[in-house]
C-alpha cells in the first residue's frame, strides 16, 4: 500500500487532486484506492491536508496517515508553517510546487525530490480560479513523472473521468507540460 499526503491551502484544489489521483490509480488497475480530506471544517487559505491510499487490494484502513510514502506540497510557503517532512517517511518522495529546481532545494536527509513551477504552468494554460493559478493538475503531472506509480496515460483518463470536455482538454495539456518540465533529484539510495 502506498500512502500519499497532500499539503495545500483551502481553495487550492487539494481535495480534488487527492481524488483524481485515486481515480487514476483505480483506472490503472489498483483495486484499493481511497482519498479523504482532513476530517472537519475547511477554510479558504488555511493550511490543510488530504490523503490518497493506493493498493493492489481493497483498503481496510481509514486512520490518518502517520508517515506517507509521498508528500505533495501545493504551496511552498507551508514549509515554514507545517511540519511537512514530519509527515513523510525518511526515504520518501517529496513533490513541491516551486520555481526552484530540485537540485537547488535544500532539504536534509535522503528524500527524493521533484519540483515544478506549477503556478507558471497553470497560468500558461489558463487554469485559474478567482484569479489564482490552480496548481493541483500540474502537480499530478509531477506525481506521474517522479513516482512512476500512476502513469501519465492514466492520469489523463482520471482527469477525463472527473472533468467535462473543455476543462478536461485544458487540464490534460497542462498535465503533459508539467510531466515534461518536472525537475527530479534522486538520492540514489
Amino acid at each position: 500500500m502506498y500512502e500519499v499526503i497532500w499539503h495545500g491551502r483551502g481553495g487550492q484544489g487539494v481535495v480534488i487532486a487527492a481524488q483524481i489521483l485515486a481515480e487514476s490509480a483505480y483506472l490503472q488497475g489498483f483495486k484499493g484506492v481511497t482519498s479523504a480530506p482532513t476530517f472537519g471544517p475547511e477554510r479558504r487559505g488555511a493550511p490543510l491536508t488530504a490523503s490518497t491510499r493506493i493498493s493492489d487490494h481493497p483498503i481496510r484502513t481509514f486512520a490518518q496517515i502517520e508517515k506517507a510514502d509521498i508528500a505533495v506540497v501545493l504551496d511552498p510557503s507551508l514549509f515554514g508553517i507545517v511540519n511537512i517532512l514530519g509527515t513523510l517517511k525518511p526515504q520518501g518522495l517529496l513533490l513541491i510546487n516551486s520555481p526552484q529546481k530540485a537540485e537547488e532545494f535544500e532539504i536534509e536527509g535522503s528524500l527524493d525530490i521533484a519540483t515544478l513551477d506549477a503556478a507558471a504552468v497553470a497560468i500558461r494554460f489558463h487554469l485559474l480560479k478567482e484569479g489564482a493559478p490552480m496548481v493541483n493538475t500540474p502537480m499530478l503531472g509531477v506525481f506521474a513523472k517522479a513516482s512512476g506509480l500512476v502513469s501519465l496515460e492514466h492520469m489523463e483518463k482520471g482527469l477525463k473521468w472527473k472533468l467535462s470536455g473543455g476543462a478536461a482538454a485544458t487540464n490534460i495539456a497542462a498535465l503533459r507540460a508539467a510531466y515534461e518540465e518536472s525537475s527530479i533529484r534522486k538520492t540514489g539510495k
Binding site: Q19, Y26, V33, S35, A36, G40, R60, T61
Partner: protein, 401 residues
C-alpha cells in the same frame, strides 16, 4: 454491466436511495450527513428522482414528515447525525410504535457538550431502545447495499431501519463503489405495498390514546392495549433476524456481494483471540488482526453488523470456543461499560461460555484509531488475561488520570 465509481459514503447512501425509488425525502442539514440529502435534492430538482423533497425547520419535523408520508403509503427516507438524530428522538419512538418502514441513514457523530462534529457512535447507540433496527456498515459499498436491503427488511417486518456509518471516516472518504443496475434493484425491491394506507377514501383514526387494557372498538372488535402492541413490536424485531439474514443471502445471490447477515467473521476459524467491533472500527480491526498474525498471534475479527435486533445466537456461536475476546467500540454507556460489550456479555450468560472479555472505548469525538494501536491493545490484554485479569475496561489513547 458493472458501474464502479470512486465515491464518498454519503454519495453511496444517496445512490442507494435513488435506486430504491424513494418517494418522499425530508431532511434538515447537519454535518457530516448533509451531502446525502444535498445530493438527493439535486436529483429531485433535476427530475432524475421522482420524489417529494420536503424541507422543514428541524429534525423533529423531519421525522414527523417521514411518519406522515409513510402512513399514506410512501417509501420514505431521511439522513441525519448526532444532535439531529437526538432531536428526532421522540419521533423515532413514534415511527417504530406506528410500525412504519422508514429508512434513516445515521452518519455517526459524537454528541455535545462540548460540540464535536467528529465521529463516534454515541448518537445511534443512545437511540438503541427506540424500536429501530440498526445496521452498522464497514465500508461505502456496504452503505449502498445495506440501504437497498434496509427497505426490503423494513417493508417486510414493518419496522423502521437505521443504516449507520461513521461520519467523515466513511462519509467523506472516497473509495470504489459499484452501483448496481437499477432494473435489477427493482426486481429485488418491488414497489412498497403497505397492508394499510391512510387515505380520504378510507379514513381511520390512527394512534389515539390507548388504554392499559384491551378494549372493543366501535365495531365491537377486541383491540390490543398498549402493552400488547409493545409486545408485537418486540416480537417483530426478534423475528426480523431471519428476514435480515434471508435478505442478505438473496442480495448476495443477485448482486454477488455478501456483507454478512447479523455479523461477519474475519480469520476467526483458528483464532486464539477475537477482536469485536462495529462499523469502520471493525474494518480497522481486520488490519490489526493481520498485524497480530504477522507477530505469531492468531487473531480474528467478529464484526457486529446488526446491533438491534442483537445477534444473540450468532454471538454465542462465534465465541463458543475462543479463549479471549477484546471488544472495541466508539460509545460508552456512562456509569457502566461500552454498550456492545455489555450486550455481548449478556448474550453469553447461561451458555457456560466463561471467556475473559476486555473492553476498549476508542475513537470518541473523532480521535484517530490506528490498526497498530488496536493490535497493541490486544497484546496488552492477552498479557493481562494470562495474569488472571478476566475483565477490564480501558480508554484507548486517553488521558485517564
Amino acid at each position: 454491466m458493472s458501474d464502479v465509481q470512486i465515491m464518498t459514503g454519503n454519495q453511496a447512501a444517496a445512490h442507494g436511495v435513488k435506486l430504491c425509488k424513494v418517494q418522499v425525502i425530508s431532511a434538515y442539514p447537519i454535518t457530516p450527513s448533509t451531502p446525502v440529502t444535498e445530493t438527493i435534492s439535486q436529483w429531485v430538482e433535476r427530475g432524475e428522482l421522482k420524489a417529494e423533497y420536503v424541507r422543514v425547520e428541524s429534525e423533529h419535523s423531519v421525522m414527523t414528515v417521514c411518519v406522515a408520508a409513510s402512513t399514506v403509503g410512501a417509501r420514505t427516507f431521511t439522513s441525519t447525525s448526532s444532535h439531529g438524530l437526538l432531536y428526532m428522538c421522540e419521533q423515532l419512538h413514534w415511527a417504530a410504535g406506528s410500525r412504519l418502514p422508514i429508512v434513516l441513514a445515521c452518519v455517526n457523530r459524537g454528541v455535545g457538550a462540548p460540540w464535536s462534529i467528529f465521529n463516534d457512535q454515541q448518537d445511534s447507540i443512545s437511540q438503541r431502545d427506540t424500536g429501530w433496527i440498526q445496521i452498522y456498515c464497514r465500508d461505502n459499498q456496504e452503505i449502498l447495499d445495506s440501504l437497498i436491503q434496509a427497505y426490503r427488511i423494513a417493508e417486510q417486518v414493518y419496522c423502521p431501519v437505521m443504516v449507520c456509518y461513521d461520519g467523515f471516516v466513511l462519509s467523506h472518504t472516497m473509495m470504489p463503489v459499484e452501483i448496481p443496475d437499477a432494473d435489477r434493484v427493482g426486481e429485488f425491491l418491488p414497489p412498497y405495498k403497505p397492508h394499510t394506507i391512510l387515505s380520504p377514501e378510507d379514513p381511520r383514526n390512527i394512534n389515539p390514546v390507548i388504554f392499559p387494557w384491551q378494549r372493543r372498538d366501535a365495531e365491537g372488535v377486541l383491540r390490543d392495549g398498549y402493552m400488547d402492541m409493545r409486545w408485537k413490536l418486540q416480537h417483530a424485531l426478534e423475528g426480523s433476524r431471519d428476514v435480515i439474514v434471508e435478505v442478505g443471502r438473496e442480495f448476495a445471490e443477485r448482486f454477488g456481494r455478501d456483507h454478512g447477515g447479523m455479523l461477519w467473521n474475519y480469520k476467526a476459524d483458528d483464532a486464539e483471540v477475537l477482536l469485536v467491533g462495529m462499523g469502520s472500527l471493525a474494518t480497522e480491526a481486520t488490519m490489526a488482526a493481520d498485524l497480530l498474525r504477522e507477530s505469531g498471534i492468531r487473531a480474528g475479527v467478529v464484526g457486529i453488523r446488526v446491533y438491534r435486533p442483537f445477534p444473540r445466537a450468532e454471538v454465542r456461536e462465534a465465541f463458543q470456543k475462543i479463549p479471549a475476546i477484546v471488544v472495541f467500540e466508539k460509545d460508552i454507556s456512562y456509569g457502566y461499560e461500552g454498550a456492545l460489550c455489555a450486550d455481548i456479555k449478556a448474550a453469553l450468560y447461561g451458555t457456560g461460555i466463561q471467556t475473559p472479555l476486555h473492553n476498549y472505548i476508542a475513537g470518541l469525538g473523532g480521535r484517530d484509531v490506528k490498526a497498530n494501536e488496536l493490535a497493541e491493545a490486544v497484546r496488552a490484554s492477552l498479557a493481562s488475561i494470562a495474569g488472571g485479569n478476566r475483565e477490564q475496561q480501558t480508554w484507548l489513547n486517553c488521558v485517564t488520570e
